[in-house]
């Protein structure tokens, strides 16, 4: 039995495809999964995390054939002999739920762990799985504390204005023990008020509504339930927007009874068929600490005559010390790049020098060029004289002229930067050419773009026109 199946868990990584929100960073050649974070594709963070946790057998789902091809070639090149990865291509724009629907036939284990491919975190996935098993839940979601001070905490002054906007995080209601999910809504969708179900509130009697938590898109699902929901509700597109809220909403009037495995005593319902075994399971239920689901199922008078069907939706709240972020926007992209070489540098997998930066031995620095802390300089990159790099990531084989300032920026591979440029808070994709004395502030420059000499841009997105 392969280790990942030892616990009867299957791991599915949803790597997405060509994400519109990340234009112009993504392109046909660089799908979202392969966007470099500290010079490593973002997908590698999830895969490394799973590998560290002894999960070696997984399914990676990529939207779009070309994206799947490039992802699969990268994975097989990097993780050969280490991970056993199946890459599945699904049509574009099917959504996360659709993606799972498409690989339905491959899901065989008792529970499925669904991880978003753009997750950069150090929360052990086992913890989510364990919480899931502990309560025998139908779904368990990983919640992590939303970045409180906003992405501007390390002084990337340029990003400040954007970051000051109220975060698009979730409104989440929990029970007093902080183990069960009672309500979830995306923060952006909430306008003035949220509607909470009375029945749930009555059953729990106390509810804690929080807005400082973020859904990290790591879910453990009970496979049979997930497949049921996906098959019955064909309109469901997204796990986050449709499936999870549906399961949470219906937790006290469970409709998932088609196969009879989801009752609140899932483990014992099989036994319950044999009459002689009802008693032990009842005894077990009586002596174990009941959750509000069980109390509700028993009815107000505590008699088991009218058993209401319930299922449990659990949460695992990551410790505050854990790092957890999703690469789902351009802002997040620069934040994660900054954090991975900064506050969360244990994730990067590099060993930092005494100056707290990484300069590849093959990189060439001109005279009087300084590379500050929390910087990465990829192999084969050359820098001219009197340059200054602060809190930035510079990719491989870049050629940077003299007198260039790079602050809080991400520069991908094979970028040519002319003399006297100043780059602040920007993202510059591969093969971009910046001619002399370009000044960029909070800009994104798409792959292959050429910025003419002496131009100055602020908070703009520069990309080649899509050829029809």
């Amino acid at each position: 039995m392969e280790p990942a199946r030892g616990m009867d868990f299957q791991v599915v990584v949803l790597a997405g495809g060509f994400s519109k929100s990340l234009v112009p960073l993504v392109s046909k050649e660089v799908p979202k999964a392969l966007l470099p974070v500290a010079n490593r594709p973002v997908l590698s963070y999830v895969l490394n995390l799973l590998e560290q946790n002894n999960v070696t057998d997984l399914i990676v789902v990529v939207e779009g054939e070309t994206a799947a091809l490039s992802a699969s070639s990268w994975i097989s090149k990097t993780y050969i002999d280490r991970l056993h990865v199946e890459v599945a291509a699904v049509p574009e724009d099917v959504g996360t739920a659709g993606a799972l629907r498409a690989i339905d036939h491959r899901l065989t284990a008792k529970d499925i762990l669904v991880v978003s491919g753009d997750l950069v975190c150090d929360v052990p996935p086992g913890a989510v799985a364990a919480a899931h098993r502990r309560h025998d839940a139908v779904v368990t979601a990983l919640l992590c504390s939303a970045p409180v001070s906003g992405p501007s905490d390390s002084g990337s002054s340029g990003a400040k204005d954007k970051a000051k906007k109220p975060g698009r995080y979730n409104i989440i209601a929990l029970d007093p023990t902080k183990q069960f999910l009672l309500h979830i809504a995306a923060g952006a969708e909430v306008e003035k008020d949220i509607r909470v179900q009375k029945s749930i509130l009555r059953a729990v009697s106390q509810m804690e509504i929080r807005s400082d938590l973020m859904d990290a898109h790591m879910y453990a699902f009970k496979r049979s339930v997930l497949q049921d929901v996906l098959n019955q509700k064909e309109t469901f597109q997204s796990l986050r927007r449709d499936v999870l809220p549906y399961l949470v909403r219906s937790q006290l009037r469970s409709e998932l009874m088609s196969n009879g495995v989801q009752s609140d005593e899932n483990g014992n319902s099989k036994d319950a068929m044999q009459n002689s075994k009802i008693l032990p399971s009842q005894l077990l239920a009586n002596e174990s600490t009941p959750s509000f689901h069980e109390l509700y199922a028993l009815g107000p008078d505590g008699s088991a005559s009218i058993t209401r069907k319930t299922h449990k939706c659990c949460v695992y709240i990551a410790n505050k010390s854990n790092y957890c972020a999703r690469l789902n926007s351009i802002q997040a992209f620069s934040d994660i790049n900054r954090d991975v070489v900064g506050v969360a540098n244990h994730l990067s997998g590099y060993s930092f020098s005494a100056q707290n930066n990484i300069i590849h031995p093959s990189a060439v620095l001109g005279s009087k060029t300084t590379v500050g802390p929390q910087c990465v300089l990829g192999d084969g990159s050359q820098m001219g004289d009197k340059c200054s790099v602060k809190k930035s990531v510079i990719g491989r084989h870049c050629r940077i002229g003299s007198n260039v300032k790079v602050v809080s920026s991400v520069i991908m591979d094979h970028v040519t930067i002319g003399d006297g440029c100043s780059i602040q808070g920007s993202v510059i994709c591969s093969n971009v050419q910046l001619q002399e004395r370009v000044i960029l502030k909070d800009c994104q420059v798409g792959a292959g773009f050429v910025v003419t000499a002496g131009s100055e841009y602020k908070a703009e997105s520069l990309a080649k026109k899509e050829r029809p």
Partner: protein
């Protein structure tokens, strides 16, 4: 025997009201041989004619007339004693370690000292009856015991002895530095003074002398050797957690990383106590790494650790069900035999569960029921047949030992409830709950008082269920026990275990309830399935107990304003003690209701001997 026994004679009429009758039990259950400890009798072990074994008196006083109103029919019966050989030869794996036993006997001996000295060789097996000469401290006796079983002997070197030895070594060294010739004399002189008493009574065993003159390190090495041997034999579940050496080794073995909590109470250092929160975190995050543990076992272990499953029967059933699942999924690896490979798997699971939470005695009994079943499987059986046989064995155990036993207990106990009774219970016991429900169904008119205690407040769930069934209840906390006891006519208690000296080992607080009830002359009925009986003898709640999460008593949920102890761990002067169990002395218990009938606590050894052990295995 001791003063606490005194009121018993007075309360006896009350017990009569309740009545001892034992439809299933053998006729001699209620007959007690009067304790006549003065006769150093032959050990009881193996003597099948004398099933009754009662604990010996602590004091060899002549007041045994006061005892038992029952007529001593079997006066020829040998008196039970703290029989070393009997206990140490036990097969059950979860038996207590020898060190403890010797400690126990040490205490008893202490009280016994002052009796005439007997030649030790003849009576060593019967443990305490041979007494020491007056000036001999109690521990000296252990030295006199001939090495009947060599392993425990080495363990029995007490601290005082070792220190004496060390001193001897030190002085010897010093002497050697001064002048070689003096060395042996001075060393032996010190040893002599240390072991003076020993020599007076009997000559010290030869190896004792050797070890004293040889270097101490060598002796240590020998000790370690026996330690290793012992560990090979059976990993000891009852580890002494104040023994740093062993704790270190256990840590290396363990799957789950455990951080020992600081600020442990001095008296309870020998019990395991870990930082609760970090253990859960660690266990959770290693979900995918623990691939040697079956998922069902893992889930059960996690739920033990988090406290989702508590209560003796529930834990036992949950564990057995998890074993069933793991056996179902088991397939014999190539070139291995099921009868050899499966036990090691099960052992691994058991040690995993122990790491999650120490096993209760009932679970230990269940495991020692299950384990011998595996080698018994005949080799001609196919794998599926063998698995089916094991599964049905477990099913049978659950059904007969837990479910049916509870039904019988309920049937018996219900006869003790009369109209107008006020019944008191403590905590939440599954059997007691069933008794109440059954009495309700029979149309008896009664009221229930549920006494609860922090931090678990298990009684609330019981209260909820009973009130839901329409039983009129009173809910109070343990603090009010002396007030509420006035109106109570019967006390029904559950038990985690019943030990062979009649001690009831149960949820902490039970002893206080029983004591108060006894003081108020209210009969105390303990309901306990016989699979929870154990032949161990326990006199206090210190030697074996379980420490709960200290934070649980420091924190009051829902009352943030009174949580003064939030950072208690940082204070050096503060230790919190959250005991899980306590031992109720048999004096406070009027009757124990088992599936074999209603018996006085003194008859527990009968059940243990006649129906326990291999008979437990159905």
């Amino acid at each position: 025997m001791d003063p606490r026994r005194m009121p018993r004679t007075i309360t006896d009429p009350k017990i009569r009201q309740v009545g001892f009758f034992a439809p299933v039990a053998p006729p001699d259950v209620s007959m007690l041989g009067p304790p006549r400890p003065t006769t150093p009798s032959s050990p009881v072990s193996g003597n099948s004619l004398s099933p009754v074994m009662i604990p010996p008196p602590r004091h060899l006083s002549s007041d045994n007339v006061l005892l038992s109103p029952h007529i001593a029919v079997d006066s020829f019966l040998p008196v039970g004693s703290y029989n070393a050989s009997e206990f140490s030869s036990s097969t059950a794996t979860e038996d207590f370690s020898e060190d403890n036993f010797s400690k126990d006997s040490g205490w008893v001996l202490n009280e016994n000292s002052g009796k005439a000295a007997v030649k030790p060789n003849t009576h060593a097996a019967s443990g305490l009856t041979p007494a020491v000469s007056n000036e001999g401290p109690p521990m000296e006796l252990q030295k006199q015991q001939p090495p009947a079983s060599s392993m425990p002997k080495k363990e029995q070197t007490t601290k005082a002895e070792r220190r004496a030895l060390q001193d001897a070594q030190r002085t010897a060294k010093a002497a050697a530095n001064a002048g070689g010739s003096k060395k042996s004399i001075s060393a032996s002189a010190v040893v002599n003074s240390a072991n003076a008493n020993t020599k007076k009574v009997a000559k010290a065993p030869p190896q004792k002398k050797d070890s004293s003159s040889v270097a101490a390190s060598e002796k240590r090495g020998g000790d370690r050797q026996t330690d290793k041997d012992r560990k090979k034999d059976a990993p000891h579940p009852r580890m002494q957690f104040d023994d740093e050496d062993r704790v270190e080794k256990a840590k290396k073995r363990s799957v789950v990383k455990q951080t020992e909590s600081r600020n442990r109470v001095e008296l309870f250092r020998h019990l395991p106590q870990y930082e609760h929160g970090t253990r859960i975190l660690d266990l959770e995050s290693h979900f995918f790494q623990l691939d040697t543990v079956h998922p069902a076992i893992y889930t059960v272990g996690l739920r033990f650790l988090t406290g989702d499953i508590s209560g003796g029967n529930a834990r036992c059933i949950a564990m057995l069900r998890a074993f069933q699942e793991s056996i179902e999924d088991y397939s014999t690896p190539a070139e291995k035999e099921l009868t050899r490979d499966l036990p090691t798997k099960i052992n691994g699971y058991v040690s995993f569960l122990i790491q999650c939470r120490p096993l209760s005695i009932s679970m230990g009994n269940a495991i020692s029921f299950l384990k011998p079943k595996i080698p018994e499987l005949s080799s001609t059986m196919s794998e599926s047949e063998a698995k089916a046989s094991l599964l049905s064995d477990i099913d049978r155990f659950i059904n007969e030992k837990i479910i049916l036993a509870e039904k019988v207990i309920v049937r018996l106990a219900v006869t003790k409830i009369r109209d107008g009774d006020v019944l008191l219970t403590h905590g939440s016991s599954s059997v007691v709950e069933m008794i109440f429900l059954c009495a309700q169904e029979l149309g008896k008119q009664f009221r229930v008082v549920i006494v609860d205690s922090r931090p678990k407040l298990e009684g609330r769930m019981l209260l909820r269920r009973l009130v839901g069934k329409g039983i009129s209840c009173t809910y109070t906390h343990l603090n009010a026990i002396s007030y509420i006891m006035h109106e109570v006519t019967r006390v029904f208690l559950g038990a985690s275990s019943v030990l062979s000296n009649g001690t009831v080992y149960s949820r902490v607080g039970t002893a206080s309830v029983a004591m108060v009830a006894h003081q108020f002359r209210v009969p105390v009925l303990v309901c306990c399935e016989s699979y929870k009986f154990h032949k161990r003898v326990q006199l206090d709640s210190i030697c074996f107990n379980e420490l709960g999460d200290p934070d649980a008593i420091a924190r009051v949920s829902g009352k943030e304003d009174i949580n003064y102890l939030n950072d208690w761990a940082s204070s050096q002067n503060l230790q919190l003690l959250n005991l899980t169990y306590d031992a109720t002395p048999s004096d406070y218990i009027s009757m124990i209701i088992t599936e074999y009938g209603m018996i006085p606590p003194t008859s527990v050894p009968v059940i243990v001997q006649e129906y326990g052990g291999e008979h437990l295995l159905i």
